[in-house]
């Protein structure tokens, strides 16, 4: 087994140990949902994730450890989703809706490319302190809600699960340059919301 950190968990899973399944579900449910959402959309994603989990359990014995458990789980999820999708080929919408607080757009820069309105120092600059503010949390959720399915999935897979960009391309069948653009725009929207809140104290 090339992924030693997985093998202990795997043997506990194979023996049906419930705490091992709790660990597995807690670690991967969010990413599996992100993969399903990107491929089949929100109406069918819960069902796809359910089916994928059952497929995972059914094929656990045959898991060879040639890839990491993470890659294996997400590949099963992507395949389950693609089977569901079959004929209707989706297109990746690159012109997503604007975020509630915009982005870091051209208007922030002078003609020579220097900052016109440079970022100010933030009052709070630890994530823990920021997230204690309920209103900010709700505000960020609103911004996340404005992302397209594909964009929010890419963000989850990169920022929360730490997938390489190439892995994201392969799972979701989109090009590397699309992944980079989606990710960049999503990050700037989040940034713009945090900055707006820091400056105005409201959403």
């Amino acid at each position: 087994m090339e992924y030693p950190e997985d093998s202990a968990l795997l043997s506990r899973l194979l023996s049906g140990e419930e705490s091992a399944y709790r660990e597995l579900v807690a670690t991967y449910q969010g990413s599996m949902r992100a993969v399903a959402l990107a491929i089949v959309g929100s109406r069918n994603s819960d069902e796809v994730v359910q089916d994928a989990w059952l497929a995972v359990v059914n094929s656990l014995k045959g898991f060879q450890g040639r890839s990491s458990l993470k890659t294996w789980l997400l590949t099963i999820t992507a395949n389950t989703a693609k089977t569901r999708l079959k004929h209707n080929r989706r297109e990746v919408l690159m012109d997503d809706l604007p975020g509630p607080h915009g982005t870091i757009g051209d208007d922030r820069f002078a003609d020579d490319g220097h900052w016109l309105m440079a970022p100010h120092e933030w009052h709070q600059d630890t994530p823990e302190a920021m997230l204690l503010q309920n209103e900010l949390r709700e505000c960020l959720e609103k911004t996340l809600g404005s992302l397209s399915n594909m964009q929010s999935s890419v963000l989850v897979l990169r920022e929360r699960q730490g997938l390489e960009l190439e892995e994201i391309c392969n799972l979701l069948d989109i090009s590397l340059s699309n992944v980079r653009v989606l990710l960049h725009r999503a990050r700037l929207k989040m940034f713009a919301t945090l900055e707006h809140f820091e400056e105005t104290g409201q959403c």
């Binding site: 399944y21 597995l24 820069f109 220097h114 440079a118 994530p127 997230l131 960009l165 960049h184």
Partner: protein
């Protein structure tokens, strides 16, 4: 030299370590000279960290799911 606007356009690739060697050098040079862009990058990192720490999962019965899967595994033997 890279402008601030170009630095922002390259910021995600910088954070993901996706820049070519020469572009990476240009970005690092710009950052040593420009306090505004240093602040921007620092705040981008804070905003990534905030996102990572946010509770996103909708309240759902993950323990129930885990139990169902463990049961399915045990009954497949």
């Amino acid at each position: 030299m890279l402008s601030c606007k170009e630095l922002v356009a390259n910021s995600s690739d910088y954070l993901d370590n996706r820049l070519s060697l020469s572009r990476g050098l240009e970005v690092r040079l710009h950052l040593t000279l420009c306090v505004n862009c240093r602040r921007f990058i620092r705040q981008m990192k804070i905003s990534q960290a905030v996102y990572r720490k946010m509770q996103l999962e909708k309240a759902e019965d993950l323990d129930g799911l885990a139990q169902k899967l463990a049961d399915a595994q045990r009954s497949s033997d």
